[in-house]
C-alpha cells in the first residue's frame, strides 16, 4: 500500500471517530430547531450525559445501563429546556446557555463529590465499554485493493455507537420528511398558528421534538465517555456541541447535507492534527489553530450568504402562545 493512500485511509478513519458525536448532536439540533426551538444546549446535554454514562457504567459495570442513564440525563436537560421555553415561554438562547453552564458546573461538582479525582470518573475497564466491532471476512477482504483497505481500516473496527450514528441520520431523514409526525414537526417550526388551527397541540409536538433531541445528545455523550473514551474528563465535550450546531447550519437544517458537514468538520480536525509540524509545498506549515477555526469561519461565511443562503425555520426562537 503506498504511503499517501495509507495516510488517506487513516485520515478517513479518524474523521469517522471525530464526526460521530457531531452527527448525533447535529441531528438532535435538527429535531429541535425544525420544531422552532433553538438549541444552544447541545454542548451541555452532551457533557452531562457523558458524565452520567461514565458514572452509571462505573457503578453498575454495565455500559448498556450507562447508555440508558445517559439518555435519561440528557432528556431531563431537554425537559428543563422545554419547561423554560415552551411552557414558560422564556428565551430559548438563555435557557440553552443556562443548561451549558449548569452541565459544566454540575459534572465537575458531582464528579469531585463522588470520586474525589478532580472531576474525573475512574477509568473504565474494556469490558465496561462499547468496544470496536470487527466485521466478518476481514482476512479475505484485505486482499482486495483499495475497497478492501477501506473495508478493513475505515468501515470495520468501530464501536456500536459509531454505526448507530448512521442509523440516526437515516432515522432523522425518515421521520422528518417521510412521516406525518415529521410534517407536523416542520409545520410547527414554520407556522405554529397553522398547526394549532388544525387542532394539533403545538406544545406537545415541541416537547416530543426536544425529547428526541435529548435522546440523540445522550448517545453523543455516551460515545465520548464509554465508547470512544474510557471514562469522563472535565469539559470533555470541548466545544463539540457548538461545532455540531455549526454543522447543522452548514447543512441548512437538512439531515443528509448536515451529515456531510459533520464529516467535513471531522475531516478538518483530523487533518489539522496530522498536519501539525508538516511543511506543505507553497504554503509552509499550516498552524493547527487554522484548522480548528475553519469550521467556525466557514459557518460564518455561509450564514452571511456568501456561499448559498442558510435559512432557519420560520418560527425559530419565537415562543408560541395562543393569544399571539
Amino acid at each position: 500500500m503506498p504511503e499517501s493512500f495509507q495516510l488517506i485511509i487513516s485520515l478517513l478513519d479518524s474523521t469517522i471517530r471525530i464526526a460521530t458525536p457531531l452527527i448525533f448532536c447535529a441531528m438532535a439540533g435538527i429535531f429541535s430547531e425544525r420544531s422552532g426551538i433553538i438549541d444552544i444546549g447541545l454542548e451541555g446535554k452532551m457533557l452531562l450525559s457523558a458524565f452520567v454514562a461514565a458514572t452509571a457504567t462505573f457503578l453498575t459495570g454495565s455500559p448498556i445501563l450507562g447508555l440508558f442513564a445517559a439518555i435519561l440525563a440528557s432528556c431531563s436537560a431537554s425537559l428543563i429546556h422545554g419547561f423554560a421555553c415552551i411552557t414558560n415561554r422564556g428565551d430559548q438562547v438563555i435557557s440553552g446557555l443556562a443548561i451549558n453552564i449548569l452541565a459544566s458546573g454540575l459534572t465537575i461538582t458531582l464528579g469531585i463529590a463522588l470520586f474525589s479525582r478532580g472531576g474525573q470518573t475512574p477509568p473504565l475497564a474494556s469490558e465496561q465499554r462499547f468496544m470496536p466491532i470487527e466485521f466478518p471476512f476481514l482476512d479475505q477482504m484485505s486482499y482486495v485493493p483499495i475497497l478492501g483497505d477501506l473495508y478493513v481500516e475505515v468501515i470495520s473496527g468501530h464501536n456500536i455507537i459509531v454505526y448507530l450514528s448512521v442509523l440516526a441520520v437515516l432515522f432523522t431523514y425518515y421521520v422528518i420528511f417521510k412521516t406525518r409526525f415529521g410534517l407536523r414537526l416542520r409545520a410547527v417550526g414554520e407556522k405554529p398558528e397553522a398547526v394549532d388551527t388544525a387542532g394539533i397541540s403545538v406544545i406537545k409536538l415541541r416537547y416530543q421534538s426536544i425529547l428526541i433531541a435529548g435522546m440523540l445528545c445522550g448517545l453523543a455523550g455516551a460515545y465520548l465517555s464509554i465508547a470512544h473514551g474510557a471514562g469522563f474528563g472535565r469539559e470533555m465535550s470541548a466545544g463539540k456541541g457548538y461545532i455540531a450546531l455549526a454543522a447543522m447550519i452548514f447543512g441548512k437544517w437538512n439531515p443528509i447535507p448536515t451529515l456531510f458537514a459533520c464529516l467535513l468538520f471531522g475531516f478538518l480536525e483530523a487533518l489539522g492534527v496530522r498536519l501539525e509540524g508538516v511543511e506543505l509545498m507553497w504554503i509552509g506549515e499550516v498552524p493547527v489553530q487554522v484548522m480548528q477555526a475553519l469550521p467556525y469561519v466557514l459557518t460564518v461565511v455561509l450564514l452571511a450568504g456568501f456561499i448559498g443562503k442558510a435559512r432557519a425555520p420560520g418560527a425559530i426562537g419565537v415562543p408560541y402562545s395562543k393569544e399571539g
Binding site: I80, A84, G90, D91, I108
Partner: protein, 370 residues
Amino acid sequence: MSDSNIIPKWLSVGVIPLMNLFLAFCVSGLFIFFIGENPFRAISVMIKGAFYYPGAIGYTLYYTTNFIFTGLAVALAFHARLFNIGGEGQAYVGGLGVGLVCLVFDQYVVGFLVTILAILGSVIFGAIWGIIPGYLQAKRGSHIVITTIMFNFIAAALMVYLLVNVIIEPGQMSPETRDFESGVGLVQIHILAKYLGLDMAMSPLNLSFIVALTVSVGFWFLVWRTKFGYEVRSLGHSETAAIYAGIKVSSTIIIVMAISGGLAGLVAINELLGVHNKLLLGFTAGYGFTGIAVALMGRNHPFGIFLASLLFGALYQGGTELDFEFSSITREMVLLIQGLIILFSGALAYMLNPLVERAYLKYYGNYSNA
C-alpha cells in the same frame, strides 16, 4: 415576553427578581445538601471568603470590575434586542489590543501615555470583534447569536496561535508575552492607599474599578439621556416602528455592537494592565459568559448590573474559599450556581408572574372592583 402590566413596578422589578434569585440559591443549597455538606456552612464560608478576610473585599471588587464591563456589554446589546454572546471573544481580542500597544510602545514612550493608548487599544480591538457580527447581522441577516458564538471560538484559536507562535516571549515555554515595562499599567488600590498613608491589605483591585464605575454612569447617560440611546431602545422595542421613525436600523445595530464589544474589551485593562502586566492565554476565564447572567439579573440597568456584579464578584471570591474549607465542594460550585441563576433569572424570569399577579389581585384588586 415583557414585564406584567397588572402588578406595580416595585413588584416586577424588585420583588420577582429577588424571588428568582432566592429560588436559584435554594436549588444550589439542595445540591450541596445532597452532596452531603451543610449548605448554610457553605454560605457562611463564602461570605467570609468574599468580605471578611484581609484583602477579601479587594478581591471581590476586582472580580466585580470584570463583571461590570461584560454585564454592560451584554446589556447594551439587549437594549437593541441583540443577544451578544460574544463578550468572551471580544474581551480576549481586547487583550490583544492592550498587548500590542504595550509591546510596541512601552520601551519608547512614557508609561502613562502607553497605558492610555493601551486602554484605547482594548476598546478598539474589542469593538472590531463586535462590529463584524454586527455588520453581518445588519447587512447580511446572519443571526447574531450564532455569529458571536462562532467568533468566540475564532478568537480563541487566533489568540492561541498568536501567543504560541508570534508574540510569545522568546525562550519561554508558557504561552505569554514578556512583562510590560514598569510604569505601564493601572495602579493597584492598596498601593495607592499606602501613598495616602492608609494601610490596606494586598489585593488585585486596581484603578479599572474606577473606570468601570465611570463607564456605568456613561452607560446610563448614553441609553436614557441621548438621541442615540433613544434610537437603540426604540429599535429594541420594535424594529418596524424604528424604521417608520426614520431610525437607520443597520448603522444603529453596527454601532451598538461596536460599543458592546468595546465594553467587553475593557476586561483586558483590569486583567492585563491591572494585574498580570503581560498578555497571557485564557485570561478571560469565562467572564464574558458571566456577563450574560449579570445583565439578566441587573435588568440591563447600570445600577442593577453593579449589584449583580457585586454578587458574582462575591460568589467568585467566596468560591475560592470553598476549596480550602471543604473536601467535597470546590469553586466549580459557583459555575453551578451561575447556571441556576441564568436559568431562574433569565429563562424562567416570568415563571412567577402569574403567581404574583394572582396574589396581588387578591389583596389589592378588590379596591378597583368596588
